[in-house]
């Protein structure tokens, strides 16, 4: 496994509020701001942290489905609308379903490694509340193989795919304990989100989260094994960060202590058309994690804080197994034992994750990197956790474990 040929850093991260149901500001009946608003807000929050915005050499915009959610294409050019310093520079749009943000990071990292730029602005954005969830399901189904899967698929396409994974996991490892762990995952996500004023679930005051998480799924109105609390919500939001070379970092006037180093990353895809080889494991995510850790020359035991793609509670459990924090079938024990809690051995999704913060699909991977950066440089404020180890690790996953980027970051 090749190590990175030169140091690459992330710095000056920022993200917007995740807007959608749960936020007091959200009113589905009123007109809402569009893509441009979220891109602008995230970009300006990043540029405000550096002395001279002109120093940004290139840009990457990560977005999944603006063509359908917002009827907007040509996003590379739209990114330049966020600030005059971005005009007449190379910008590119990347897409990999819900793993889009991770692809954005990977693209920024490669650009710096290729010596093509010293400062790359990576922005992730998605504005999904333009349609009701029932129609959003059609759009998000594009993260699977639409031509062969949509017609036969469930009305709630992706929830049903992961409901099937939950069903397979129940059958193999036991339903009751897994169900409890899914509820515990939800409770942990909301507890963390309550510490993050930008989280979609920040205003959540439900007294008994585990009880909610244990709600019986209703196959007639939703899916067989997942209830609403098992799912991340429909979200609008954006996140942005700078990917820099050593020279770039110096030029921006940012000290090394304001940045985190990319220790390694793995970018892996699997065949979109085929069914996953094992419903009870995130096989592709596992490979991406192995690649990232190998490149960094570390083991998962060296990592002190994690961000995983918990689009559903069951995915969170599968993800901790893919990380190697638990053996197959033992993810529920780790979760129920408090292992992923902010005061646990492996603090995970400390700002709420996809279930607690929200899941503006194209932005999620970038938002994860920003949260790891915040934790590692000590800027996580209300949701800061004490760091036992100096590495952070994230999984940005697209589709049903199809397009995955894992990134290991070092303080």
């Amino acid at each position: 496994m090749k190590a990175l040929r030169k140091p690459v850093y992330l710095a000056a991260g920022a993200y917007t509020m995740s807007m959608g149901t749960g936020r007091k500001e959200f009113d589905p009946k009123k007109a809402r701001p569009g893509l441009e608003h979220y891109i602008d807000e995230a970009v300006r929050a990043v540029l405000a942290q550096i002395a001279n915005p002109d120093l940004v050499d290139e840009g990457v915009i990560a977005n999944f489905m603006a063509a359908r959610f917002n009827r907007q294409g040509n996003l590379a050019s739209l990114l330049a609308a966020a600030h005059p310093a971005l005009r007449y520079k190379p910008m590119v749009r990347v897409e990999g379903a819900c793993g889009t943000g991770g692809l954005g990071l990977a693209t920024g990292i490669k650009t710096v490694l290729a010596d093509m730029a010293d400062v790359v602005l990576v922005v992730g954005v998605e504005v999904q509340n333009t349609v009701k969830a029932v129609y959003g399901a059609d759009i998000l189904a594009g993260a699977g193989h639409y031509a062969s899967q949509r017609k036969a698929g469930h009305a709630h396409f992706f929830p049903a795919r992961f409901s099937d994974r939950a069903g397979a996991y129940f059958a193999r490892y036991g339903a009751e304990r897994t169900r409890q762990a899914m509820a515990a995952w939800y409770a942990n996500a909301i507890a963390n989100a309550r510490l993050n004023p930008l989280a979609q679930e920040f205003h959540n005051t439900a007294p008994d989260l585990v009880k909610l998480g244990m709600s019986r799924p209703d196959p007639e109105s939703f899916t067989e094994h997942l209830n609403f609390y098992d799912c991340s919500k429909v979200s609008d939001g954006a996140a942005a960060v700078l990917v820099c070379s050593e020279e770039g970092l110096a030029r921006l006037g940012l000290g090394r202590d304001a940045a985190v180093q990319v220790a390694g990353y793995g970018q892996v895809v699997d065949d979109l058309v085929q069914a996953p080889p094992d419903l009870t494991a995130l096989t592709t995510s596992r490979k991406a994690v192995e690649h990232a850790l190998g490149q960094a020359g570390i083991g998962v035991g060296d990592v002190g804080v994690f961000e995983v793609h918990d689009c559903f509670t069951i995915t969170g459990i599968l993800a901790v197994e893919a990380l190697g924090l638990a053996q197959p079938g033992e993810g529920p024990d780790l979760v129920l034992g408090g292992g992923i809690a902010r005061n646990g051995e492996h603090p995970t999704n400390t700002s709420g994750g996809l279930i607690g913060y929200g899941h503006p699909t194209g932005a999620s991977g970038v938002r994860m990197a920003v949260d790891l950066w915040k934790q590692l440089v000590g800027r996580a404020e209300g949701f800061q956790v004490p760091l036992a180890r100096e590495y952070g690790l994230m999984i940005s996953m697209g589709g049903d474990d199809k397009t995955v980027v894992a990134v290991a970051l070092r303080k």
């Binding site: 029932v134 129609y135 059609d138 189904a141 949509r150 009305a155 709630h156 196959p219 007639e220």
Partner: protein, 444 residues
Amino acid sequence: MELFERLRNVAVVGAAGKMGSGISLLLAEQIAFAALEDRAGTHVLNLIDISDEGLLGLLRYIRAQAVKTAEKQINRLRRLYAERADLVENGEMVAEFVHEVMLHIRTGKTLELARDSHLVFEAAFERDELKIDIFRKLADMCGQSTFFLTNTSAIPIGFLSRESGLEGRVIGYHFYNPPAVQKLVELITPAHCSPGLVALASELATRLGKTIVPANDIAGFIGNGHFMRDGLHGLGEAERLAGEMGFVQAVWAVDRVSRDWLLRPMGIFQLIDYVGIDVFQLILSVMRRHIPAPELRSDLIDLLIELGVKGGQTSSGAQKDGFFRYEKGRPVAVYDPNRREYVPCEPEGWCRQVEEALGPHPDPSVSWKALGRDRDKDARLRAFFARVKESTTLGCDLARRYAAASRAAAEQLVAMGVAARPEDVNSVLTLGFFHLYGPINEYL
């Protein structure tokens, strides 16, 4: 003829009214599902009313509601459209279903439209002569096997069917407002009703997802039988208290107690406004005409109608002024018949004096809304009413008197044979009026 065959041609008379439009929506959706499941025959829903404007509004309403139904039942639609290769997305199936709903509807202003119908729903204005006139015309026009379901909430079915020459073929099918939402149908089977009609009426209720509560064919049935007496008690209390605290204060106090002390969704005067003061008066007069009950009248109601204060709702569903003037659905002023004007609530003035006179609410954390979703509802109701029982405040005193009157009205319905069992009265109040508990209970 089986229900599925009868659903091939159905009519609604008075389709654009408050109740008619909801019934039309339920049938339109049901017929669309029937057409998707049974592709052999044609399906027609004839919607009849007197104005083009009303019918146009009705079509708009059905279309908008059908979208919501399709969205909610998307899993069912995906199954129904599984063979339609051209329909892939949820969005496409929702649009197709809405199209299907509208496809079978015929609208018109003449009863002629119902000529070939196997089932006719009647939801015209609540007047004996009007309904009899409609039924007589339909009797001449429709086939001998046609069944008639009337949504009357008060007029005896036996009387209507005898007067119109349709004996045996009419049944009382009383939906609650709004029909698309409320789960209750009061089923009034007159003497000499065709057994086929009774069976069909109950099969249809199952298909529509409604719960049937049987009522005897005595004017007012269970729902209005209770509501009229319950309302008259409230009116009497307001008149009694008016001498002590003034009229507007008394109306405010009785409304507040009947809502917040009895834990009902609306206070009694807001409910009368919602139904319509004119409708309330009309139902009283219908009941007086058909049963020996001279006590079913109110001078206050008659006076308000004389002064043109009628309540009810606009065609868009907004509340019109009645006992109260409303802002965003909440009472903000009370009508004073002496001054012939609305007296705005003064939070620091007379409204506060009313609050002080009533005394503190027994437990502000307990409300209709809060208890509706509470799994320990029964225990919390017991605890709450135990406090009401012990307290000596005016509010609790009024609440106890009110609960006793409500219970007496319910027991009277059982004694008169309107309801076969106390449970049936309780079911009508909980399902049709959204009360948390029935009037015959052990709480107070």
